[in-house]
């Protein structure tokens, strides 16, 4: 059984509608460690050693967050800056993350159709997430297609529950190695796997 570390970041959790539902019950899944970063580090004073130890103990690292200005909330950037150190995460001596899986689970306010050349966001979500993908690559992790929960400004309860179910199946599938990673190679988004 693989161990999963979910690093969740939402600076306005009390106002969240979708993420609140999505994360409910995650910490009860066996093999999943759920870590609400803004709750652990209200002053953004990330304890590097603690975080590195946690990462080392897990096989799959998940960044779960809303999409802010085409990137993650600030604390996840801070986390990357401070935790992914040279000599630990990358560099000639940095092999701690080698062969781990990296996954992003992300809510976006606008619908997925706006993320294309003709849409007003001009670029696809995958293009915008390039920095995360390349960070994973540099750290020798395998970047899985991200799971997107799009269009949260106008989402229905049924849609959220459907995503929640997919999310859970995804975690269980990865945990129990029931998902064949080769099936994902040509997928842009994890969502396609469930269709």
């Amino acid at each position: 059984m693989k161990k999963i570390l979910i690093l969740f970041a939402h600076p306005a959790y009390q106002k969240s509608r979708v993420n609140k539902v999505l994360i409910k019950g995650l910490q009860d899944i066996e093999g999943v460690t759920f870590r609400d970063l803004y709750q652990v580090y209200p002053e953004m004073d990330i304890e590097v050693k603690d975080e590195q130890k946690l990462v080392e103990e897990h096989d799959i690292i998940v960044f779960h967050h809303p999409f802010y200005w085409y990137s993650s909330p600030a604390i996840l950037k801070e986390w990357q800056d401070l935790v992914l150190t040279h000599g630990w995460a990358y560099g000639s001596q940095g092999n701690s993350l080698k062969d781990k899986l990296f996954l992003q689970v992300m809510t976006t306010g606008a619908g997925q159709e706006t993320y294309c050349q003709q849409g007003h966001n001009k670029m696809t979500i995958r293009q915008l997430l390039a920095p995360f993908e390349q960070t994973a690559n540099l750290c020798q992790m395998r970047y899985l297609p991200p799971m997107i929960i799009p269009g949260t400004y106008a989402i229905t309860k049924e849609e959220v529950m459907k995503h929640k179910e997919n999310y859970k199946n995804l975690l269980l599938g990865l945990r129990d190695e029931k998902i064949n990673l080769d099936d994902l190679v040509n997928k842009q988004y994890f969502n396609e796997y469930f269709k």
Partner: protein, 631 residues
Amino acid sequence: MEQGGFFFQALVYLAAAVVAVPIAKKLGLGSVLGYLLAGILIGPFLLGFIGEEGQDVMHFAEFGVVMMLFLVGLELQPSMIWKLRRSIFGLGGSQMGITAVIIMGIAVAMGFAWQTGLAIGLTFALSSTAIVLQSLNEKGLMKTEAGQNAFSVLLFQDIAVIPILAILPYLAIEGLVSESSSAAHHATTWVEGWAIWQKTILTIAVITTMVAAGKYLISPMFRLIARTDLRELFTAASLLLVISAAILMTMIGLSPALGTFIAGVVLAQSEFRHELETDIEPFKGLLLGLFFIAVGASIDFELIANQPTTIMGLVVILVIVKFIVLFIIGRIFKVGLDKNMVFSFSLAQGGEFAFVLLSFSTSNSILPTDVANPLVAVVAISMALTPLLMLFNEKLIQPRFGTKEIEKEGDEMQEDKNVIIAGFGRFGSTIGRFLQANGVQATYLDLDPDNVDLLRKLGLKVFYGDASRKDLLHAAGAAEAHLLIVAVDEPEKTKEIIETANKHFPNLEIMTRSQSFLDSYRYIDMGVDKLYLEFFDTSLRMGVDALCHLGHRRHESFRASRTFRKQVMKFMTELSEVHEDKSLLLSEAKKRMQFLEQSMLQEKEDFHKEKDHGWDASQQINEFGEEKLEV
């Protein structure tokens, strides 16, 4: 049996209570039933320790009911009563009316005159405030919907007693031999012989005066007394207040219970609320216990033995009629089935006012004594049955319902009492205002009457009282609270509060203000882990600003202060283990401070080696590039 005066009496009552109540509680029967059984045990028909004087004791002990209503009033803000108006008049009014009519019908069917029937109906429509409130409180149901409904009905009944006493004399039947008129109640009021409109005006005037006095007179008076720092004087003043309210009401022909209830409501917003509660509570408990014992002792078993079927039949009819009426009204008012069961079972008995009304009726030629006496027995038995009925409901009926009342507990009557702040000076008030700004309404306690007065003028709800006393903490809601914030400025007081809280409310989370490291070690020894050194954060902030003033970078200095704070807090816990030994403490503390300073200096040179490694490019430069820039 000849009894040796007051002390022997006290011995009998107290011994019976001390023996019977714990046994009853142990058996899960509740204290009310315990007292009643104790009364039956020592009463004239079993052991015979007390005889006819039981009646006098009952009159005296009825004052416990009066005190209980004062306490109930203290718990109720006027706004709360306004919220309950629908259930008070709707539930209460229909319960009184319908029950009285049905019982009257039964009485008439049994061959009584309609006047007699109406008197019995009105008398039996009343329930027992004492038994119901005590039992509901004990089961923690008082603040639930069922408890509120029961309370509303009882409140209406207490008010209804006044017009009933006024109507009864008109129901007198010619030819019925009146007993000696000296037995008549309420013979010594001021309003004897006044017209109704005069009485009404007087009543309104007195109640207005009470409200005004409570607002403008009582608080300053209590503040003066609090300043003397004599606890017993405060207790005396509290008792005086309750007794005055009761007597005043009796004098104008109202029920004393209603009077103290109004006094309680008036004082519900006073800063002395919790202190008053704490002072009156033990008196109320004792007197109420005495009252229940007296009820138990007054059950006339001889009479019951003579006509067992009549009396038991009447008891069954009374309980069933009241239950059905309550249940149907509960349905109409859309009370959930499980709550309706609690509500209906708890109120299906005769009340203590029935004793008063029955003796009033006999002395006013409404009822002959040979009718009234069995009725007294019926009421007493139905009262004794109530705890059993409630137990029956709790154990056998409630388990059949899936949803428990607990889920909806406390939305209306309960104040937000999740946090208690002890000590409301500069320190505590800052915390309190911050919590308030975030929508958390705490209960504040402070020992300085002048400070309480000042803060009240600023619009803060502060109560006067000593938080190191168990009863006061309890009155402030410590049993249900999630958090106790100790913010007093005397280390000794802090220690006492922590001790009390640890001992009596072990589940209460404690946050403690500490004024020095040495105090902190003592608190840590007592098991406190959430410690806040009052000087620490501010002085560190000042340190950061000083560094910045000297040209250090702001973000870096701020982060350094955070590291410093965390380290010192860690050392504090470590040092608390050696604090008994002064010299060891000194050397250990010195060692740690030196280590901290050195490591921080070192870190600063290495650009916070540990923390900010990821922002420091020197390693990457070594591996991937070469140093060409002069820094």
